[in-house]
Symmetry: C2
Subunit: 230 residues, 2 copies
């Protein structure tokens, strides 16, 4: 009975997918600021106002691209990490690091959309937060597994006590892990994205050429200070 209905909705879904596809290509070449509804419409042979049948505003189209970006990055990390032996925690961490770096270098504008300067006036809707933590959840799983199997030495001090409320969000991602290890994991997390930000945003231009090696060195360093053996 819904065959006819799905026929209509199928062409709608098809056009929606085509719009996001063209928009993603434009995003890759022009950047977020250069994403133009009119240009997308022109490339589709439509008139600009017709796009609004599918996306009520430019921001909604941008949101779709952001969610896609979160999922693509999260999936890249999950896939790389899950391909490693479960008990090679340092290897899983390094694989995840290389995955995010390579994805970011390959899709700099999409990366900028999700980890760069927020686009002015844009407010992330609530349904993006599910996809946004996929990568963080992957790192957390590594730390959680490593701690659970005793691969991380218990730290000497417990970390600042006034930070105990702030560790809440991370405790849900890493149940059973003490706060001191959580903060070391956060440090590794910020070190990872700090490096990738620098590289993608051009701070290493004419400074570091052998970036993959330097990155791996830095991430090994981060893993070592986190306490991941090897």
């Amino acid at each position: 009975m819904t065959a006819s209905r799905t026929a209509r909705e199928r062409v709608r879904a098809e056009l929606t997918r085509e719009i996001t596809g063209i928009a993603r290509r434009q995003l890759a070449t022009e950047g977020a600021g250069g994403l133009s509804l009119r240009a997308v419409a022109r490339e589709m042979g439509m008139v600009s106002s017709a796009i609004y049948r599918y996306f009520p505003s430019r921001d909604h189209l941008l949101t779709a691209l952001i969610v896609d970006g979160y999922n693509a990055l999260g999936e890249a990390v999950e896939q790389a990490e899950s391909a490693c032996p479960r008990h090679d925690f340092a290897g899983r961490w390094l694989a995840a690091c290389h995955a995010v770096r390579e994805w970011a270098v390959a899709h700099p504008h999409e990366y900028a959309l999700i980890y760069g300067s927020p686009v002015p006036g844009y407010q992330a809707p609530q349904d993006t937060i599910a996809a946004r933590v996929r990568d963080v959840a992957a790192y957390s799983r590594i730390v959680c597994d490593a701690w659970g199997s005793g691969a991380i030495a218990p730290p000497a001090n417990e970390g600042p006590e006034e930070l105990q409320p702030d560790a809440g969000s991370f405790r849900e991602l890493m149940p059973g892990v003490p706060d001191a290890v959580i903060w070391q994991a956060v440090a590794a997390w910020t070190a990872l994205y700090g490096w990738v930000n620098f590289e993608v945003f051009g701070q290493f231009n004419n400074v570091i050429e052998n970036r993959r090696t330097a990155f791996e060195h830095a991430m090994r360093h981060a893993a070592a200070t986190l306490g991941l053996a090897q």
Copy 2:
């Protein structure tokens, strides 16, 4: 003889300063994408085309703001760091960290301009690179001083040898410091800006509230792994 000429140039300099001032205010409220030459002209009571007497394009105005931002950030770091006792290396590092964080939080859009996603189509002119390294030079001085006075323990290994060419730019900033320490300093540097990026770009929203304390904890951690005592 040039009194009249300087009179002419003085009003020109005055207007130029007024334009950048208004542009900076617009930048602070609207972000880089919302910086509009027409709006600046409107606020000055001029017609838009008159602005082009002073800045040949929107990008040139943006460049002026970027250079100002580099200098403001660099000056904040230099000032905070130089107020500490010369041999309190960890204190100097922490002071520099807090300076950059506080400046970035106070001027998020200007920070985004210089350390966030590059604005599409914009190419930084050559004369900005002098101002851009002011902050990095300040950190490098701390590490250099600390190494020179023996406050940093010589590291066990020398770092990857295939990275030796890439350390060149940093060796100029930290003469006499071995490569292994250089790469640890780079790691601390990326950790610093990784954190600030996360905080300014909203990744810590609804996650970490007591940000100053958490930041200081992370930067102490970074200093410790760098080898700065205390």
